[in-house]
């Protein structure tokens, strides 16, 4: 173990970590926005809504993320219509290709997680809200979505961690994320154990922080499990 190489690599690895976090955070944020309507389509009970939503989830859960990244990065760029089309300024950048692939992938998983959450909301609560005269939209906004989110939170925390680790695949399309930086340093030092151990430790620290944050959020969103505040 060459401790000097490990210590020297830290600043560069942290630069890579910044890109990793940026990619994951952006993909998660856009992913949620896409996932909610897909989850609602999945539980809508209408075939014309459920069908396409199911197909989307089936495709993005059923193929490896690496294949999706390569299809978007190397695949789309093979077509001249794409290269001369209006989307090329975005699709030529590996950064946006990674964001698109991660977003579409995580949205599929998140939609299924939310679907489970929505289906887990007790019927009695929905009936009670309807009995109080709330409209469908209001029930959705006040009862179903907040309850579903709480129910889905542990599984969603898992998805965040899975995407964080999967983001290492960004290094295959020239991006210098945490793994990309580690591989580039290994290319000059031939010390994969030192560098991958360092990168692994950094991923662990971030994963740990995410787990704690999710735990705190779960606690905050479960007032019924906390002792009542003194009056």
């Amino acid at each position: 173990m060459n401790v000097e190489v490990m210590a020297n690599s830290v600043p560069k690895l942290l630069d890579g970590l910044a890109l990793t976090i940026e990619l994951v955070a952006l993909a998660l944020a856009i992913g949620i926005v896409i996932a909610i309507p897909i989850a609602l389509a999945r539980v809508s009970g209408r075939a014309w809504l459920n069908g396409p939503a199911f197909a989307y989830v089936f495709f993005f859960r059923g193929t490896p993320l690496l294949v999706q990244i390569f299809l978007i990065y190397y695949g789309l760029s093979q077509f001249e219509t794409i290269r001369e089309g209006p989307l090329w300024p975005i699709l030529r950048e590996p950064y946006w290709c990674a964001i698109i692939a991660f977003t579409l992938n995580t949205a599929a998983y998140t939609a299924e997680i939310f679907r489970g959450g929505i289906e887990g909301v007790p019927h009695g609560e929905i009936e009670a809200a309807r009995a109080l005269g709330m409209s469908r939209v209001l029930v959705l906004r006040r009862i179903i979505l907040p309850r579903a989110f709480r129910l889905a939170l542990p599984a969603y925390g898992n998805e965040i961690i899975i995407l964080l680790k999967a983001s290492a695949l960004a290094s295959t399309i020239t991006l210098l994320d945490l793994t990309g930086v580690a591989r580039t340093i290994i290319a000059r030092t031939y010390m994969p154990i030192e560098l991958f151990a360092m990168a692994g430790a950094i991923y662990l620290v971030v994963t740990f922080a995410i787990t704690r944050a999710i735990k705190a959020l779960e606690h905050w969103l479960s007032p019924q499990t906390r002792p009542p505040r003194p009056a």
Binding site: T174, I186, A197, A201
Partner: protein, 253 residues
């Protein structure tokens, strides 16, 4: 932070243990190559390793009277894999450089190469530092070309490093890269392909190494000596020239 250190050491030990288990103890010579670097090493339609490196390695094994087995290994992990004893020699168009000599031992060269810039025909990009300012330049990760770009042009140009030369070529074709910096012989072959037809060499070649050799672990002096003898032997008896002629109409030694 002591728990972190402990965790790191545990992780490292697990890795070392895992690698050691896969090391081979037989007396067969295992040869590592990449299989994605035509015409030097590639996988053909039947899934078999082919190319100049592979032919040379087979000829050397025959001369040494040794049984050889090829192992396909991704390029950027090829030296670590040699050090971890996944194979005993790298015959994969590896440039002999001082940087690499710190990690591995090299035989005498078995061919010579120049590193060259390639770009779209007619664009005539000037390959000086000022000419390449702000350009997107591609190379394969962990090559002499990549090291050169990082050291000399890393501050002025956008350097993109790829897992394989084939992936880098794809990005040259689709215009993500302005120029490619790569082995002249590999690009010479590529320029003859359908994709490569629209591209040409910019400027002359640069010699960034002491030729291309076979890498072995530093302590394997005996294997290195045997390989050196075998290289001399195939040079002397015409086997080398025959293989050379199969791939290039000029001598690449």
């Amino acid at each position: 932070m002591t728990w972190l250190k402990t965790a790191m050491i545990a992780l490292a030990l697990a890795l070392v243990g895992g690698l050691a288990l896969t090391a081979n103890a037989g007396d067969k010579i295992k040869i590592g190559t990449e299989g994605a670097y035509p015409p030097f090493n590639l996988i053909d339609e039947k899934g078999e390793l082919q190319g100049f490196d592979v032919d040379i390695a087979k000829a050397l094994c025959e001369k040494m009277g040794a049984e050889c087995e090829f192992v396909k290994q991704d390029w950027d992990g090829i030296i670590p894999a040699l050090l971890a004893k996944k194979f005993d020699a790298i015959v994969a168009s590896m440039s002999i450089t001082d940087e690499r000599k710190q990690a591995v031992g090299f035989t005498d060269r078995y061919y010579s190469n120049l590193i060259r810039f390639v770009g779209p025909k007619g664009k005539a990009i000037d390959t000086s530092e000022t000419g390449l300012k702000g350009k997107s330049i591609g190379a394969q990760r962990a090559t002499v070309a990549a090291s050169y770009l990082e050291d000399k042009l890393g501050k002025v140009a956008s350097i993109k490093l790829y897992d394989t030369q084939e992936n880098a070529n794809l990005d040259l074709v689709n215009g993500r890269l302005d120029v490619m910096f790569a082995d002249g012989l590999v690009m010479y072959e590529w320029l003859k392909t359908d994709d490569g037809k629209k591209f040409e060499f910019y400027g002359g070649g640069m010699s960034l190494d002491d030729g291309v050799g076979i890498a072995v672990r530093k302590e394997d002096e005996a294997l290195k000596a045997k390989l050196n003898e075998a290289i001399k032997a195939i040079r002397a008896d015409g086997t080398y020239d025959k293989i050379n002629a199969k791939y290039f109409p000029f001598s690449i030694y």
